[in-house]
Amino acid sequence: MKLPTRFGLLPQLLLGFVGAGMLVAVVLWTGNRMLERSSERLVTTLERHVRPLARLHSLQSRLGGLRNLELELGHLDDVFALQSQVSRLRAEITTLDTEIGKFSVTLGQTSPNEAQRLAGHWRDYRSRLGEQARLAAEMDLASVRAITTSGSHLPYLSIQALLNEVAEQTEAAADLAYRKATDDQAAQRWDFLKLVLIGGLVIFIGLAYSGRTVVRRIGILSEHAQKLATGVESGHIAISPHDEIGDLAQAFGAMRQQVLTRETALRLAQADLERRVQERTADLKSANRRLVRFSQVVEQNPVGILVARIGGMVEFVNPAYCRITGRSSDEIIEQPLIEVIHVADPLDADNALRVATAGGIWELEQPSRRGDEAYWERLRLGAVLDERGRATHLLLSREDITEQRVQMEKITYQAHYDLLTGLPNRALANDRLLQAVSRARRDGGRAAAMFIDLDNFKEVNDTLGHATGDTLLRQVAQRLVGAVRGDDVVARLGGDEFLIVASGLNHGDEAAAIAEKVIAAFTEVFKVDERELNTSPSIGIAIYPDDGTEPTVLLRNADLAMYEAKDSGRNMYRFYNRSIHDLSLQRLEIGRCLRGALERQELHVVYHPLVRADSGCIIGAEALLRWNSPELGEVQPALFIPVAEQNGLIVDLGRWVLREACATLARWRLRQDGFVMAVNVSPRQFKASGFVDMVKECLNEFAVPPEQLEIEITEGLLLRNQDEVAAILDELHALGVRLSMDDFGTGYSSLSYLREFPFHTVKIDRSFIRDVSEDRSDRALVIAAVRMAQALGLQIIAEGVETDEQWTFLVGQDCDILQGFRFGIPVTESNFGKTWVNARVSRPESDGQSQGVPFIPV
């Protein structure tokens, strides 16, 4: 059998490409030669005609420039510029002479007549320019201008006209040659195009034949492949095996057989694999749900969590960790744990890792920073164990505990500092005083406790309100702090009481200096809400070790000294001394003895007459308390009343006095109709619960008409708790009891008090009556008080009347009632009953002598 001749694809392709390439090369070479020849002809034509034109143009330009120089020359007004211009003109003449000479030679070859004319005109123009240059050098600019205008103008125009004429001729010749050259070039281009078309046609036919053969056989092969892909049976592949496509067909047949065999095996394996995948997917879903829950717990945990490999890098941080530290996860992840743990002491970090790696728990609370923000955090580092109990990772939790710390610090602060003024409070002050004493004890020095109480502060607080009082206290605190030394401690003990603890003193005088600075600091008025307020300090000073060695003793003695300062007139300081101590002891002694004095009947009531001013008739009496102690003797009311007021005994004493007075009144009213009994009531008694009921009870018990009982209260009572006081006064007024304001003039002497409260009587203080004869201001006040009371319909009682002159004056002012030693001293009930009830005192005569009952000396 004869095998077909084998002619492979590669030889076929090579033969085709070589043939086509040779054909293209022949076409291109031929076309290139044609175009080159055409371009050369065009360039030659252009050069032959354009160059002379360019030279002509250059010549015309230079000639124009020369003419400009010439024109400028005659009009230069600067001698230095003129010299320069002449030089340029001469240089330009020389250059142009050369240029025109060369051009004339060229021109002479084609147009000898024009060349001759050009040379002639130039010679003429050049000679005139030379003359101008010479004249300009001699500064004869008028002659220069004359030549410019009349001499050189015509030669210049002649040259330009000639050059223009030559230029026009040259341009016409150039245009003709250029058109011919472009026509030739167009013909060559058409020949080349025809050649390209023939070559392209030959190549196309060859490619079409080869392509058709190859494509048909590949189509058969493709058809069998598609059937194999779709599982359709196909028969024999009818492709002759004389080239590579035939080889491919045979190989494809063998491969088809193998594919069918393997396909069967693969289907079985696929079924098994799908079953296993479904089982595994179910397991993964379950694990994934657990993982998601765990992840949410960690992600949403408010505590910052960081997980790092032991001895390795950080693997995970939750959002809370980033929020707390102010760092992004990118800054932390894959960083060594030691570098991101961020503790102040590097040793702490080392220790933390050691403890946690060893299975322990390391904890730390520390201040930290988040950018510019400071915060407190709690760190906790421990190991994460795997299923076999081995530490594989470290878990660092980070918690922002700023809020807790702030609360804790706030509590601590509130425990030691006064929230209003920011000064140390009593507890901290005691601690500081203890420190000062300890230091003085150690150093052999001195320390001072300076107890300060503000004068008149309560009035401010009561009249202007607590808000104003608080503001004043804050300002006072600032001034105190400003007045003391740097090491001294200023504390607020409460209310308007402050304490200064001065340590490191060598002598008590140093404490005096501090006290004087404090007093000086109060000289300027305080301004609160545009209102000017005055307050002053009363300071008591106790020195360690002279006045006590224990803080409590020093504090108590300073307090006593402060009272001494108050009693001495306020706005001053007093050192604690023996007399204060003694006075304190005396007060204690009085207090001790006063307890039970009532039961022991050591107290009694005396009565002082109230006299009608115009008639001298006795209209009543004021009941006054006296104490005759078996141990202390006759104790002045000024000594025991304050003690009783202070320790609360005044309430019982006051009740007893009221009852005594009412009992006495019940008897005397039977002897003198309308007899009035005045009883002093202390502030504490007045505000004691059940006071009004007690008055009512007395009135009822002793059947005393209420209008014959007069309750005397001091003006100071009205300054505090006005609403409460007003209510009590209203109740008393409702009972029908007379109300009297005692000691008028010593306090605020407020007209509004008299108008707002239901008083019946005003008692002018004895201090004004005493000097009424000599002191004009006292006299004026008494007159004003009387007029005011009259205007308000109140009765006036003048206390402390001692002389006839005072009586006469007061009568002259229409004063209603008088009281004083002019009429006698307070006496016991029996003496009063004998002497004064239903009695009358003689009024002074104009010569100063009295009438009626004689004056009873004190």
Partner: protein, 492 residues
């Protein structure tokens, strides 16, 4: 970066150490050091690579300062890499030019303008720059600047780099002076030999003698137009006293309303009678007077050394027929006192408002280098005249100006004094003087009236100023009259 900084610092130290060693300029060296300093500034980044210098010159200065066909500008740009942007400014005071062109780095100013420029802070004190780059303003021959303390300093401050030398020189017709017929006629008329005048009276006598307008010859064509009157009056006034006559006393009271002032003014106005008819016309400056002398129509003229360049040029009718002579003076106490002054002077000033002050300064040092400046001095059509001692020895310049004229030029500098009033507002003071001198020269007022009016107006100007400050300025200015020039250097 640290190494770069250290390397730059080291380079600066080396440069600073080397520069003082070469502080005194020698031919070509000053320019090379200026270029090296520019390179250092560019390399260190202190000046950006694309920085350029903005210069503003008057039209005649462009060629004179940047060279014919701008050849010096091209060379500077090629060698330094720094471009120059030049603009032309009008012929007006530097004060107005600098104010009108705030972006300009470098311009020119006349010597008498320094007080105004300094007072208004318009120009840079160059002393720190000289120190920084190790240059000295040397006044010593054979290379130094001519009288730098007179042309570039105000007090201790270096205000400008001199780039022109403009003392006055008397030019006379040699052919007439040497003519036997003229000599005989002069002896007959005045009883003495016809000779170069040494006093202003003799000068006036010669002008009168040779004044023959009917024959086309004027006795003198010394400028008498209004705007430059002070330049020709001041030498006459300064030489009225020995060693010189001051304009103000030590309390700022003008001293011109005096016999000395009247005498100087009369000498000034006397020439009008022997001069060209239009000599008083506005704008009739040297461009009017110099051609008259050049055409042989005048016996004498007083002009700067530039006159020699013009009169010696080809085409000049007086070429080879004129001589240059020292300026006349006055006899005081039996001794001749002569005083001269730089009247124009194109000194280079660095604007304090310029962006590239250091580069501008270095350019001036390069431009005024002994060698480089030879290429600008004597350029025809330019204003720049010799301003370094080495210029006087250069053959090309000697041919241009004549050796005789250069010798007189050298002789005049030692008697030269600072021009102007030395006070802020100098322009106003000089304008008042110019106006009154012009009125006197026109015959509208007498010389005495001119001095009285000027004195009154000057007192008015001074009264409107801070007198103490003016006194301080005057003190600095007067110190300039006393300072010697030889061997002057800038303060280190």
């Amino acid at each position: 970066m640290g190494w770069t900084m250290r390397r730059k610092g080291l380079a600066c130290l080396l440069l600073a150490a080397m520069l003082p060693a070469f502080g005194t300029a020698s031919a070509g060296e000053q320019g090379e050091r200026a270029l090296a300093a520019v390179k250092q500034l560019l390399d260190s980044g202190a000046v950006p690579r694309n920085a350029s210098i903005k210069v503003a010159f008057k039209s005649g200065n462009i060629a004179a300062l940047l060279g014919p066909e701008l050849e010096l500008q091209k060379e500077w740009e090629q060698r330094s890499g720094v471009m120059i942007t030049a603009k032309v400014i009008p012929q007006q005071p530097a004060l107005q030019n600098i104010k009108a062109n705030p972006d300009v780095d470098l311009t020119v100013a006349r010597t008498h303008e320094f007080p105004d420029l300094l007072e208004q802070g318009l120009v840079e004190d160059l002393s720190p720059l000289l120190k920084e780059f190790g240059f000295r303003i040397d006044g010593a021959p054979p290379q130094g600047y001519v009288r730098p303390r007179l042309q570039g300093f105000f007090g201790d401050k270096v205000v400008a780099i001199p780039a022109d030398g403009d003392v006055l020189i008397l030019y006379l017709r040699r052919d007439l002076l040497e003519s036997p017929a003229e000599r005989a006629a002069f002896r007959k008329a005045y009883g003495r030999d016809l000779a170069v005048p040494v006093t202003w009276q003799e000068y006036d006598q010669l002008a009168k003698f040779f004044h023959r307008p009917e024959k086309g010859l004027y006795g003198t064509v010394e400028q008498r137009e209004r705007d430059t009157a002070w330049m020709f009056w001041l030498p006459r006034y300064l030489s009225q006293g020995a060693p010189y006559r001051q304009l103000f006393d030590d309390r700022l009271k003008p001293m011109i309303d005096s016999p000395a002032g009247v005498a100087a003014t009369e000498s000034y106005i006397n020439t009008v009678r022997h001069s060209a008819p239009e000599i008083l016309g506005d704008g009739k400056d040297y461009s009017y007077t110099a051609p008259i002398f050049m055409q042989g129509k005048a016996f004498s003229i007083i002009f700067t050394i530039a006159g020699a360049k013009l009169f010696n040029a080809s085409g000049s009718a007086v070429r080879g027929k004129f001589i240059a002579a020292a300026l006349p003076g006055n006899r005081v106490g039996g001794k001749l006192v002569r005083r001269n002054l730089p009247i124009y002077g194109n000194n280079l000033v660095v604007s304090s408002q310029g962006a590239q002050r250091k580069l501008a300064f270095l350019f001036t040092m390069w431009l005024t280098d002994p060698d480089n400046s030879l290429r600008t001095v004597g350029v025809r059509g330019g204003f720049t005249d010799p301003f370094r001692w080495n210029h006087l020895a250069d053959q090309r310049i000697r041919d241009l100006y004549t050796p005789e004229a250069l010798a007189v030029f050298a002789k005049e500098w030692p008697v030269a004094l600072p021009p102007g009033t030395g006070l802020p507002g100098d322009g106003d003071y000089l304008a008042a003087l110019n106006q009154n001198l012009w009125l006197a020269a026109s015959g509208k007022i007498t010389a005495a009236e001119a001095m009285k009016r000027t004195s009154r107006e000057w007192e008015g100007f001074t009264g409107r100023q801070d007198r103490d400050r003016h006194l301080a300025w005057l003190k600095i200015f007067n110190a300039g009259f006393r300072n010697p020039d030889s061997g002057e250097t800038s303060k280190k």
